[in-house]
């Protein structure tokens, strides 16, 4: 994450943001700090308040309470016109009756810049988004991905300090989405513009962001780098929402031990503090489960039987039944290679190990 090393002041700081629609509370006391040049993604299920938060930052919606500081300026009460940002919507919102040139120069014309200068700037932006020749066309004549690039160019035209993107890729097909993901990230890093992107696609969030803000029901569940979000989820919701995870119900036995049916497991971060007898849930990612040869050194080893092999390409999802905890099927990620080598099919026996350091105990 690019630190603004000189001062630790964040570029954008939100504090105590609340928003209700009637009796429905869309945002509950949201706080967030974004460093200069950072790309942040808001990730969360539909209706969790991502768009609302973005629109509040843009001044298109007014928070009920809370403050917003952008570049040392308190913008909490400023109208959208007085704030400094560029925005791209899911629908692109390109002006259909204006040419691409007029669309991109829309915000420049108003700033009393010379014609030649505007032309130069538009050419520069169009080149930047890889559509140098599109100037004379109309939005309706471009593909979705091209329109999105133009919307991006229009938002960047006035060199705003903050770029806001609301699900910019969700209307595109899978291939175009993948390509634009890389392009937007590269462009953002090149320009160093502080960016907030809303998405409900976890892969998109993890692959593009410096930091991910995971939201649910109007609260921020966790803020962290993609690695942190994935490896050290702060809540059951985050673990569940980002990636696949096994949820194992167990009863604490004290001393960092847990009983799962007829099995006793040890470990899991933060396990020692739990009062014996408490029902808990242990979280373990499918790819963290070790099998056969790798199991030996592991404390939490068990015998298991394969009940299902789901082919997904390079990887397979293998469901197994663990002896002693038959009622809790365990999902394991195994490479197609290993499956072939071990000749795993339904009914095959399998040794599994649940590494203590990968298991997490969550609320």
């Amino acid at each position: 994450m690019p630190e603004s090393a000189a001062s630790n002041e964040p570029y954008l700081k939100l504090e105590g943001i609340r928003k209700t629609f009637g009796s429905f509370s869309a945002l509950k006391d949201v706080a967030l700090a974004v460093a200069n040049g950072e790309l942040i993604t808001f990730l969360g299920p539909s209706g969790c308040g991502k768009t609302t938060l973005l629109r509040i930052i843009a001044g298109l919606e007014t928070q009920d309470s809370g403050t917003i500081i952008q570049g040392k300026r308190n913008i909490s009460r400023l109208p959208a016109m007085k704030r400094d940002y560029g925005i791209v919507f899911q629908s692109y919102a390109l002006f259909p009756n204006l040419t691409i040139f007029d669309n991109v120069s829309y915000g420049l014309v108003n700033r009393r810049k010379g014609r030649a200068e505007i032309r130069r700037r538009v050419a520069e932006l169009l080149t930047l988004v890889g559509l140098a020749d599109a100037g004379g066309k109309y939005p309706g004549q471009l593909s979705g991905g091209q329109q999105q690039r133009i919307a991006l160019a229009r938002a960047l035209a006035t060199a705003p300090g903050l770029l806001l993107l609301d699900e910019p890729l969700s209307a595109l097909d899978a291939l175009e989405r993948l390509r634009l993901r890389g392009e937007i990230r590269a462009l953002q890093q090149r320009l160093g513009v502080t960016t907030i992107m809303v998405t409900h696609d976890q892969e998109e969030a993890l692959s593009m962001a410096d930091r991910v803000v995971v939201m649910n029901h109007g609260v921020i569940e966790q803020i962290g780098t993609p690695q942190q979000i994935y490896r050290e989820p702060a809540s059951a919701f985050v673990a569940d929402f980002v990636g696949k995870v096994n949820v194992i119900s167990a009863v604490a036995e004290g001393g960092g031990r847990f009983r799962v049916g007829g099995l006793v497991l040890t470990g899991a971060a933060g396990a020692a503090a739990v009062t014996p007898g408490t029902r808990v849930r242990l979280y373990l990612r499918p790819e963290d489960v070790v099998i056969n040869g790798a199991v030996a050194a592991n404390a939490n080893a068990a015998a298991a039987t394969v009940t299902k092999v789901e082919f997904l390409g390079a990887f397979c999802h293998v469901t197994v039944q663990v002896a002693g905890a038959e009622d809790q099927p365990l999902l394991i990620n195994i490479s197609r290679h290993s499956i072939d080598r071990m000749n795993l099919v339904e009914g095959s026996p399998l040794q599994v190990g649940l590494p203590a350091d990968c298991m997490r105990l969550l609320r």
Binding site: M1, N8, P10, K13, E15, G16, D29, A31, L32, A33, V34, A35, A58, G59, L60, T62, Q63, D64, S65, G66, S76, R77, L78, P79, A80, M81, K82, R83, Y85, G86, I87, F89, S91, A93, F95, P96, N97, L98, Y106, G107, N110, R111, Y138, P139, G140, Q141, R154, A155, A157, T158, P160, R211, V219, I220, I223, G224, T225, Q228
Partner: protein, 574 residues
């Protein structure tokens, strides 16, 4: 975890944030306030005044409901209620099946010449409602060519009112039902066909339920149109009393304005009822259609198509016979004695008689109404839909904009007399001027135009305004550069609608004109009263000609515009 992350802090209850409005937001809100003030002064206040007057006697003393009591004790007036409802009920019962069959032919059969049939079916809109009345007098009146068809009955009275009204409302019903049938989903038929559903069953299980709300809506429009209509019973009603005529007699005949107010309120009741039913139905209809409905493409069926075509031809022939008779009457010397061609009704009857000026007054009024009305209504709808702030005001304007459709023109006009003729009203100067005629017409036709504008605006991307704010471009600039060009077809449509209605309206203006602002449609009434039926027909023909010209111009301009802007207009937007 990163240090920049702010830990969730304990809730601090801080003061609510009041956003600072930009001066441009203030402009928009000020303009919106202007629209609201317009509707309050020119719609709400006159109606409120009318209500107050109905509770006062001639001397301005508050008498509560006593006038209503007196009214209901007068047998002749009570009879008007029965007459009005009976006529409107009959017109509705006849028009709806006629229009439905016509719309069914246009949408569900492979009838040839669909475009032409549709245009002919819509021609009654171009004519003032007095035209069919005049025409039916010529056909069925004392000297009528087809008088024998009525047996011994006279066309002057309920028969004349009913057939003239059917002619006048037919296109309105047709348009509503046509829209309902066009909107229904073709995939339902495909599914039914794949299940081998018989035609009759498809009709009763898919077509009728799909058009249900459209049919009810059309019935309500026809009903309230007929109840409110004043010109037709005036010309062809004979001694048959209806409510609208009673208002006229009370106000113009007996100068008893307060009694007029009482009858107005009585007239308002059924119209408001129909209006509310229609409103509820439209809400349901919108919920019924998915946005991805597929248009139905009928397959040729020889006998069915032929009989549908025959039906449409028959209806069109009738409609043209009505219009044709009026035009013909205006060009012959004297029906039925001297049928030689002559311009005399135009030259002597209109020009030399000095009433031709009323036609130019009408033109001026219609142009002003179209231009100013479109600006006001589209601008108002834009501010309502696309700007921010002042929530309460918006809700109020939405409500006010819906009201005119539920208010008969005469009721509005009478309210204007009370409100603007009041000596203490600073707007008193408007009374009897051209301005008040333009304003009352705009208000009278506000609702439909407003809905057209709102529909067009809703089709635009919601974020245009947000994008221009982020680019620091003032909203009015985006309005002129993007919103208006993209909505131009709808804007022209509103202008045409207002023009045609301003040319033909009578009921809204009958109380408000002065000798200097006499209008063409009113002149028809005067000429008819004086027995100058040829000249009256000539004036009606002139109105039809003017309305037709504007509609043709509209069609040409729209086509040119679409051709020129095809570069950016996606096929969907067409």
């Amino acid at each position: 975890m990163t240090t920049a992350v702010a830990a969730p802090r304990p809730s601090v209850v801080s003061a609510p944030v009041r956003p600072r409005a930009h001066w441009q937001d203030r402009i928009a809100q000020g303009l919106l306030l202007g629209v609201c003030a317009f509707l309050i002064v020119f719609l709400l206040a006159p109606l409120a005044m009318l209500l107050v007057k109905s509770l006062q006697d001639r001397d301005g003393v508050f008498v509560g409901l006593r006038q209503f009591q007196e009214y209901f004790q007068t047998p002749a007036l009570r009879q008007s209620i029965v007459h009005t409802l009976a006529v409107a009920g009959t017109v509705t019962a006849v028009t709806i099946p006629l229009a439905f069959t016509f719309a069914y032919a246009l949408t569900r059969s492979c009838t040839p010449l669909k475009g032409t049939l549709r245009v002919i079916a819509l021609t009654p809109i171009l004519a003032p409602s007095l035209l069919p009345a005049i025409s039916f007098i010529q056909w069925f009146g004392t000297q009528g060519l087809l008088k024998w068809m009525l047996g011994g009955a006279s066309v002057y009275g309920p028969i004349g009112i009913i057939i003239s009204s059917i002619y006048a409302v037919f296109p309105h019903a047709l348009m509503i039902i046509l829209t309902a049938l066009l909107l229904s989903d073709g995939r339902l038929y495909e599914a039914a066909e794949s299940l081998g559903t018989p035609t009759l069953r498809k009709f009763f299980t898919i077509t009728l339920p799909g058009a249900k709300y459209g049919l009810i809506s059309a019935a309500m429009v026809v009903f309230s149109y007929t109840v409110s209509e004043f010109g037709i019973p005036k010309v062809i009603g004979g001694n048959f009393n209806v409510l609208a005529l009673d208002i006229f007699k009370q106000v113009i005949g007996q100068q008893n304005f307060n009694k007029g107010a009482v009858v107005s309120i009585v007239l308002l009741v059924p119209v408001l009822f129909a209006f509310v039913v229609d409103w509820v139905m439209q809400g349901r209809q919108q919920a019924q259609f998915s946005s991805r409905a597929v248009a139905y493409a009928p397959k040729p069926r020889r006998w069915f198509d032929a009989s549908m075509f025959a039906y449409c031809l028959f209806i069109c022939a009738l409609l043209l016979a009505v219009l044709g008779m009026a035009v013909y009457t205006s060009f012959i010397k004297l029906w039925p004695y001297n049928k030689s061609f002559s311009f005399a009704h135009y030259t002597f009857g209109l020009v030399d008689a000095g009433v031709i000026s009323s036609f130019f007054n009408s033109l001026r009024m219609a142009i002003l109404t179209a231009v100013l009305g479109t600006m006001l209504i589209f601008g108002g709808a834009y501010l309502l839909e696309k700007t921010r702030g002042v929530r309460g005001l918006r809700a109020l304007i939405r409500m006010l904009a819906a009201i005119p459709m539920g208010v008969p023109g005469m009721v509005l006009g009478l309210g204007y007399i009370f409100f603007f003729n009041h000596p203490d009203n600073p707007l008193n100067g408007l009374y009897h001027g051209m301005t008040i005629l333009v304003v009352v017409t705009i208000v009278h036709y506000y609702t439909s135009s407003h809905l057209t504008a709102v529909t067009a605006l809703k089709a635009l991307d919601n974020e245009f305004e947000a994008v221009s704010a982020s680019l620091k471009v003032p909203f009015y600039k985006t309005f002129f550069r993007v919103t208006v060009p993209v909505c131009l077809p709808a804007i022209l449509d509103i202008g045409r609608y207002l023009f045609v209605n301003a040319m033909t309206t009578i009921s809204a203006v009958v109380f408000l004109y002065s000798p200097d602002t006499q209008l063409a449609s009113l002149t028809i009434l005067t000429l008819d009263d004086a027995g100058e039926i040829g000249a009256a027909a000539a004036m009606a023909t002139l109105i039809v000609a003017a309305s037709t010209t504007v509609c043709v111009l509209y069609a040409i301009v729209t086509r040119l515009l679409l051709a020129r802007t095809q570069a950016w207009r996606r096929p969907l937007a067409l």
